[in-house]
Amino acid sequence: MDGDSSTTDASQLGMSGEYMAGSHYVLQSQDDDGDESLHDHEEGNGSKENFREQDIYLPIANVARIMKNAVPQTGKIAKDAKECVQECVSEFISFITSEASERCHQEKRKTINGEDILFAMSTLGFDMYVEPLKLYLQKFREAMKGEKGIGGVSVTEGLGEELTDDSFGKWGASILIESINRRYLPPLVGLGHGGEFGI
């Protein structure tokens, strides 16, 4: 990471916040800004005036919800932990995308496709996601085809309520627990149903 958002200048230290990060010494502002914005992150720090594109984050509410679903019921999550994961997520997306993009270029293609993404994940140490993702994609495609075939009948009616955000959250979490513990991914049931698909 470049250093324009960090400072080792002692004269700026007294400015805000209690914490500083070690070794790269990033100032931690104390501002608790709960607003959801595109950047959705602490903006009180005066040393950052221009947001880099890398500072785009996913909404913290969504991120926090997924985290909550993943940890045991009684678990709570500290606010700075949520914000931190928010940042990690953007980093993850960029990480995968760069790798996928590189492969794309090497093969003289301009559009990043699903295969590129899966390949990137495998290369970067996220191979444990590949199988669940392939299955998810398969189910999703089947659901889309089904919708077209029936001609307008909502697929959600057919597949029922099997997959809500919460249930996937718990499923996802249990899959990952298994893979973390045993390096094995159990077969998946009831994945993904399409409704409208429009980006």
């Binding site: 990471m1 010494y25 594109e53 932990a81 990480f95 140490g125 669940p132």
Partner: protein, 118 residues
């Protein structure tokens, strides 16, 4: 039509696919990578889904790593997990361990550091 409305619609569409993250935002982040021209729908879908898995994975690994007081997931749990697990080591730079300002000042006094630019 406000920006919020668009996000809501994106969210709604996302929900019906069993995803709880806004794909439009994911796409924005992907496009901010250098040299990315276009991304097909499948790639976006997979990335969004993978991101969900990633959040769960990171949260759970960190939580198991050592719950803070009262079963609360703390920043330090995340920092420790990133340091220890190879899979998460790409996050090292953005997840430095935190120290208090006064400790840092002490550190500076004891060891004047000539830091190269990162």
């Amino acid at each position: 039509m406000s920006g919020n409305n668009v996000e809501e619609n994106a969210n709604h569409a996302s929900n019906s696919k069993g995803i709880s993250l806004p794909m439009t935002r994911v796409k924005l982040i992907m496009k901010s990578s250098p040299d990315v021209s276009s991304i097909n729908q499948e790639a976006l879908l997979l990335t969004t889904k993978a991101t969900e898995l990633f959040v769960q994975h990171l949260a759970l690994s960190s939580f198991n790593n050592g719950p803070g007081k009262d079963q609360t997931l703390l920043y330090s749990d995340l920092a420790n997990t990133v340091e220890e697990k190879e899979t998460f080591q790409f996050l090292t730079d953005i997840l430095p361990k935190k120290i208090l300002v006064r400790d840092y000042l002490k550190l500076l006094e004891e060891n004047p550091i000539e830091e190269a630019d990162n």
